[in-house]
Amino acid sequence: AQSVAQPEDQVNVAEGNPLTVKCTYSVSGNPYLFWYVQYPNRGLQFLLKYITGDNLVKGSYGFEAEFNKSQTSFHLKKPSALVSDSALYFCAVRDVITSGSARQLTFGSGTQLTVLP
């Protein structure tokens, strides 16, 4: 079975400071990992993904995430937070068992990020 955990329901950070939103996962095969953001009264917007290759992936709006296989983590980061980054962030994982065979996307519980001016 696959699962993903976001241990923090809420993260507060001051504008201009670096931010980290944590995510850990569990899969039986190879993980495809994703971050999505949800602004109030909006759908989910895709931020970035890790499929293979470089462990540090860069995405939209200056966000990046680091894949750490030994710690089974995929934390979302940004060097300097903006007030406009305040939103609900979801980590998701897809367990790829064999080529062409993958389970459905599983989402974490979400982390509410608040950037304080």
Partner: protein, 115 residues
């Protein structure tokens, strides 16, 4: 990425009635999915909409309650039947595109309130 629209964007319905939500994509897509997001919760997959055949439902969801259609590669509907206040949620359409491995995109959602 695919541009996904949903209708209606929100609705307030009385218990016992049904609502059909439409999902339209601006390009052909491989797969279409329907998710539910209950208030303050994460996303839960309801079903995969299969073109020309019955949808594939996840555990806990049944066709009588959530009938789904997908007549072509760009359009799908989800009906929430015999609604109760527990059905109050955001319902999201999601797609994967040809040639983009496993990347999934989401529509803006339909916010449903059942009174």
């Amino acid at each position: 990425s695919a541009v996904i629209s949903q209708k209606p964007s929100r609705d307030i319905c009385q218990r016992g009635t049904s609502l059909t939500i439409q999902c339209q994509v601006d390009s052909q897509v491989t797969m279409m999915f329907w998710y539910r997001q209950q208030p303050g919760q994460s996303l839960t997959l309801i079903a995969t909409a299969n073109q020309g055949s019955e949808a594939t439902y996840e555990s806990g969801f049944v066709i009588d309650k959530f009938p789904i259609s997908r007549p072509n590669l760009t359009f799908s509907t989800l009906t929430v039947s015999n609604m109760s206040p527990e059905d109050s949620s955001i319902y999201l359409c999601s797609v994967t595109q040809f040639g983009i491995t496993y990347e999934q995109y989401f529509g803006p959602g339909t916010r449903l309130t059942v009174t």
